[in-house]
């Protein structure tokens, strides 16, 4: 396998709150290789979004800060770079797609002027070349009549169209890595399907790597090669996608998969549940953070935190992982 494009090691991200310092991300490590799509999945507050933001140096500071670890992109550590150095990487090498397209679009400028800004700055195109390039990009992300849409304002576009514009902007400098944070969550089901398919196709066409941050296991199953499951600031399982869905090893991953109504085919059966709820990040237990809700808990789980260890094709942070027969 080639060298990783992105290498995150022992990343710790803390937020200062009125109640104390919260570790939103607590020592996670992972690699992303060129041209692959990696899913980062978990429930609200698990740290997946902050992880995505940290790769672009976008963790709001204060209250947040990267308290430890490294984020190496093509061998260069991004932690500690100053704003101007980060800006040279952001947009050009690493781009981001947010959940709500309006947060990424400026309502007072036309689609075209926002796109040509980027193209002229990073690619040194003339005004006319940039406009032509913008129209071509809009066409590639599936916007009908791009030569007309380019002169419209964001509010004139539907939600799905806006998200396509955001994707076109993210692609405009041929980034090597895209971080997409819930890119289809704000969209309706039928639009979601269109945009997700487009995104997968573009990832292959542009030969980029993608980190897809989402709470939706359905989206992960459709778009990703591998996935990482996060719980309470830690990665609890890393696995190739078929493996994760066929043989989840961590009791949390297994519980999540079991509780999706779509996987329970007969109607009106009692849904399996994960009892209890996510612990407060301010009052974390000393041992495994999932222990309180776990049906496979051992005495050891209450005192010691499991680290990621290889298990078949996966890596799992659990002392008593689920065994699914082949």
């Amino acid at each position: 396998m080639s060298a990783p494009l992105l290498s995150v090691r022992d990343l710790v991200i803390e937020f200062t709150t009125e109640q104390g310092v919260v570790r939103a991300v607590d020592g996670i490590s992972f690699d992303v290789f060129p041209n692959e799509t990696v899913g980062l999945v978990g429930e609200s507050g698990c740290g997946k979004t902050v992880t995505g933001l940290s790769i672009l140096g976008l963790v709001p500071r204060p209250p947040g800060r990267i308290a430890g670890g490294r984020i190496e992109f093509e061998g260069r550590d991004l932690v500690g770079l100053d704003e101007s150095e980060l800006r040279a990487i952001r947009g050009r090498d690493i781009a981001m797609i947010f959940q709500e397209p309006m947060t990424a679009l400026n309502p007072v400028f036309t689609v075209g002027s926002q796109m040509t800004d980027v193209l002229r700055r990073y690619k040194g195109l003339s005004r006319r070349q940039a406009r032509a390039a913008a129209i071509e990009l809009l066409a590639r992300v599936g916007i009908p009549a791009p030569d007309r849409r380019v002169d419209e304002y964001p509010h004139q576009l539907s939600g799905g169209m806006r998200q396509r514009v955001v994707i076109a902007m993210a692609l405009s400098c041929d980034p090597k890595l895209i971080v997409a944070d819930e890119p289809t969550t704000a969209l309706d089901v039928t639009t979601q399907a269109q945009v997700l398919e487009q995104l997968v196709r573009l990832q292959e066409e542009f030969r980029m790597a993608m980190i897809l941050v989402t709470h939706d296991l359905g989206v992960i199953a459709e778009a990703c090669d591998r996935a990482m499951v996060m719980y309470c600031g830690r990665i609890v399982e890393q696995a190739p996608i078929e493996e994760l869905f066929a043989r989840p090893r961590h009791p949390y991953s297994a519980g999540l998969l079991a509780s999706i109504p779509a996987r329970v085919d007969d109607e009106r059966r009692e849904l399996p549940v994960i009892p209890g709820m996510v612990p407060d990040l301010l009052h974390l237990p000393p041992g495994c953070r999932f222990a309180d809700r776990c049906g496979r808990r051992l005495a050891r789980c209450d005192v010691e935190q499991p680290g990621l260890a290889p298990a078949g094709e996966s890596r799992v942070a659990c002392f008593n992982p689920v065994e699914t027969p082949r």
Partner: protein, 324 residues
């Protein structure tokens, strides 16, 4: 079994004002001629994408928004023609659970005050009886009695939704409109709340109108499912029938669009062209014809009326020219 709720040709239009004199320049036909019946103790799931009118329909049924036309009959009585005193009495029979558990509970009231409020409003029981009832309701929704003096901000989304459910149950309603009750919840908590709703229905015989954009959730809780598009009910069938044998092209596309949480089962997807048209300016004829992969020339000319394509005893209604 008799119909608890009968909705006949219900319409809710919102005027759009414009120009210097703020004259009515258009109508948004949020709900445009919807009819169905719901039997006591059953669940009707209502699905559709944002703006299809499903929430407005729920609110128009409860008269939280006054319908523009049509009838809503609860136990055979037309809510629109009831004298105010009787309407208030009828309101006890129907309650709502809202989507956003953070917005639907007053931050200044304790859990006990929130759950007791419907009892206070309708003047039911003595203060002691109401306090007892609050404890009973907390137990029903699986919360400890000790939480009654705490405030909503101290709870997670799933627990808040339980408080909202307890409030909806306070008056022993026969009908609950649940408007996206689990959409704001995380997966692991969502199934807890869904199981609770299923249990309440089983044990207390409450009928639910369950509104959701999430097809897999609706499939799990509903006896029958209605699909809405641009203010119209385009298909209505028993749940299993709708999911295994969808007839309306929109239902087919909607079902195929749901991401399947199984990497081995790549969905054969019907990708619809374009977006939902604006409800302010819906297309003539069938509202779906602009995106329909099976549209015929005739579809843009006449509005299709619902026809029954089901078998005896298993009605399956679909509003599509392919079946007329």
């Amino acid at each position: 079994m008799s119909a608890l709720l009968e909705v006949r040709d219900l319409r809710k239009h919102f005027p759009v004002r414009g120009g210097l004199l703020r004259r009515v320049v258009a109508q948004v036909k949020a709900v445009d001629g919807v009819s169905f019946t719901l039997e006591a103790g059953r669940t009707l799931g209502l699905v559709g994408e944002s703006g299809c009118g499903k929430s407005t329909l729920g609110r128009a049924i409860l008269r939280l928004q006054r319908p523009t036309g049509g009838q809503v009959l609860l136990e055979g009585r037309d809510l629109a023609t009831l004298p105010p005193a009787e309407l208030i009495a009828m309101r006890r029979e129907m309650q709502i659970i809202f989507q956003d558990p953070f917005a639907s509970l007053s931050p200044r009231r304790t859990v006990a005050q929130i759950i007791r409020e419907p009892l206070d409003v309708h003047g039911i029981g003595t203060p002691e009886e109401r306090a007892r009832r609050v404890l009973e309701l907390l137990d029903v929704v699986g919360m400890r009695a000790a939480v009654q003096d705490r405030y909503p901000h101290e709870f997670s989304g799933g627990q808040r939704q339980r408080i909202g459910i307890a409030r909806a149950l306070a008056l022993n309603p026969k009908l609950i409109v649940a408007d996206e009750p689990v959409s704001a919840l995380d997966v692991s908590v969502r199934s807890q709340v869904l199981n609770l709703i299923a249990k309440l229905q089983r044990e207390r015989g409450i009928a639910f109108l369950f509104i959701s954009h999430d097809l897999s959730v609706v499939r799990h809780v509903s006896d029958q499912v209605g699909v809405m598009y641009l203010g119209k009910l385009v298909e209505l069938a028993p749940t299993h029938e709708l999911f295994t044998n969808p007839r309306h092209p929109y239902t087919e596309a909607l079902l195929s669009a749901v991401p399947v949480p199984d990497p081995r089962r790549k969905a054969k997807r019907i990708v619809l062209a374009g977006d939902v048209p604006s409800p302010m300016n819906p297309p003539p004829g069938c509202p779906f014809h602009t995106r329909c992969p099976k549209a015929l020339p005739y579809c843009s000319q006449a509005v299709p009326q619902p026809v029954d394509v089901g078998s005896p005893g298993r009605p399956h209604s679909v509003a599509c020219h392919l079946y007329t």
